[in-house]
Symmetry: C2
Subunit: 405 residues, 2 copies
């Protein structure tokens, strides 16, 4: 009898968690496990804002997949997924086709630009290690060029961040810390630099406790961030953005750097696959399977789950993605072992902390509101916990964050 084949797409939080749990729960004779990922490394999506701002080197936000995967039980295929052929139970990659018995889709998110003109061409997004390096180097070059051309174009030093959600705010916090370093590096008067956050919604960090939001805004303003709130970004151009200040008033803001951090959607491969979805996210069953597809699990940013208490979707967080990975692994192990009673996924939200730079944060942990050093400490505990869950203490030792105070 042929061993069933489990194919996991994506080595993000969800996919990697699934694989590292599956490799413990399944014996070599139980199933064949294949992990497919574009890069030979995993990166911490929730740390990318640091690599993008240049406050943390990108090698600190990634680690080798082969270092955490048991290669005697898991075959790692470095390949780009090009198509998911549900009817044929196979995945098309640039390294050839891969057939599956059980499929786990953890392909992560893509930037959602809501059809805003010019964003794709003129704005960066904080989406992966390659993009993060590009943002960092672009900002460096703007500062260098400003100086080299004789300080004639102050707008080179303006950084526009579109979006005051989680990613936007965390990136602004890092920029607030990075700009003084950049000014020192390039002999530039810090007064010349502007960091402007443009947000369509009437508030920053929607869903966060208002008191914490107030703290966050004041902390970022102290670091030099300007906010333009309730003012949709209408268009991005070469070197500027158009902002709707009111119904009739459009302002052009010149900026050397434009970063779009205002939204994510699931993978376009989901849409292409024909699996029922909403903005490329699959509203999964309670056992994390795609409706109508008993052999397909969808996790992380590609999945959509409604929180019954709030009647709103759970946010696409690393915390939930990792918990989904654990449940998914147990459910696949059950299927492989011939059981048809699967476990329902129940998120256990321990808390949410939003960093405001290395030295400051806000958050709610186990129901308790935190700010400043305490919140910043908890943020690092959470970041280290992600490493621990996947790679144990040795990974925490290698890549962890220990500059607590």
């Amino acid at each position: 009898m042929r061993k069933p084949r489990v194919v996991v797409l994506g080595a993000g939080y969800a996919g990697l968690m699934t694989v590292t749990r599956l490799q413990k729960q399944l014996g070599t004779n139980d199933a064949e496990i294949i992990l497919v990922n574009k890069n030979d490394y995993h990166y911490e999506t929730t740390w990318l804002h640091e690599a993008s701002a240049g406050t943390l080197h990108h090698d600190r936000v990634r680690y080798d997949i082969k270092g955490v995967v048991n290669t005697s039980k898991v075959n790692f295929l470095q390949a780009s997924v090009e198509d998911i052929k549900v009817a044929e139970k196979k995945v098309v990659t640039d390294q050839g086709d891969v057939e599956y018995d059980y499929l786990v889709i953890g392909l992560g998110a893509e930037a959602e630009t809501f059809g805003i003109q010019g964003l794709h061409e003129h704005a960066f997004t904080i989406s992966n290690v390659n993009g993060a390096r590009q943002i960092r180097d672009h900002i460096d070059l703007q500062f260098a060029t400003y100086k080299a051309e004789g300080e004639i174009n102050d707008e080179r030093l303006t950084i526009v961040v579109g979006g005051a959600g989680f990613t936007g705010i965390e990136f602004l916090g890092e920029l607030g810390n990075r700009v003084p370093e950049l000014c020192k590096e390039y002999d530039i008067d810090q007064k010349k630099v502007r960091i402007v956050c443009v947000e369509a919604a009437p508030m920053i960090l929607p869903g966060f406790d208002p008191e914490l939001v107030k703290y966050a805004r004041a902390a970022l303003e102290k670091k030099g961030v300007e906010f333009s709130i309730g003012t949709p970004l209408k268009e991005a151009r070469e070197g500027s953005v158009l902002i709707a200040k009111s119904e009739d008033e459009i302002e052009e803001l010149k900026a050397g750097t434009i970063v779009w951090a205002a939204g994510v959607r699931g993978s376009t491969l989901i849409e292409k696959s024909g699996i029922e979805n909403m903005r490329a996210r699959v509203k999964v069953n309670l056992d994390l399977r795609a409706p109508g597809h008993d052999d397909i699990f969808v996790l992380g940013d590609c999945s959509l789950m409604i929180n019954e208490e709030t009647e709103r979707p759970y946010p696409p967080t690393a915390q939930i993605a990792m918990q989904q990975g654990e449940t998914c692994a147990r459910n696949i192990a059950a299927l492989v072992h011939g059981k048809d009673q699967l476990e329902n996924f129940k998120p256990d939200i321990k808390g949410t902390v939003c960093s405001l730079g290395e030295d400051d944060a806000i958050g709610v942990v186990y129901g308790k509101k935190l700010t400043g050093v305490k919140a910043s400490f908890m943020k690092k505990v959470i970041d280290n916990r992600s490493l621990f869950m996947v790679g144990g203490p040795s990974l925490v030792f290698k890549k962890g964050k220990f500059k607590f105070f």
Copy 2:
């Protein structure tokens, strides 16, 4: 009686040497000394190729002027010189006019583009700290963008260096060392990177011993440098250069980075001043004064002196500039002390070493040919000697190069 005022323009090798010697030879009551420089730091022009390639941080190639100048004897004015009004014996700067009794012009060199179309717009030059930072960051961004856009445009990784003279060759040597680091930093296959040196003359390093030139070329080729020799660069465009491969054949070479390192001229301020000059350089008298101007000394890259043995001009080197500074200081001290017999400048050329990266070099020192580790060692001795001449052992300790092997 009013003290005579000595104004020194430029804190390069020549100007700074003049000032640090003058402050020892003149008492506070003898003369007023004013040093005018655009930046508050001196930079080692002969190390800029390292900062440009990114192999040495720019803070290692510069030091504070106030750290080496005796501020109780020398007034330092941070200002950009805008005009030299010879008839009125005054210098116009962006911080106001400065009158002089004795003037020392050590304003350094500017890039000479020989009227080649597009060079000014599309090529970088290794001319100062600001420019060096820009080249480094531009190359970084090209590598990052190559990766972020999906490795579709290999030409981003091509670096064209125009000129196989001293600066061009030294820069190529650093690039040869830097590229493997860049490939590691950006996860790029080194085979994709091209470093191409384009030179109009039929040989590299004209004036150097042919055996050493052969060594240099082989060493650089081993580091991945391609040479296109005897092929003038005809035009620089956005993202490419045109190279005359023969009389009838023009080749377009696409390149993400174009650096022009093929020639220098004196300062345009010299031309503007009306002082007799050739390509902005003044053919000075033996006592280093400008012909017809008994109160003006011209040193370094702004000066031109014929070597009577070879009947060719001495090359514009740091070694000669510093020696000129010493002679100039003695001559000014003599004038201030009422002597009219000035000393003639005699260059004492101890040797010339051309670096091929941190780990390799060629050179002739005290008449002896050197290559490899020995030459590389001598290069660092020479670099440290420049520091020692201006700032003594403490400056060598702070900024010196000690990674000898």
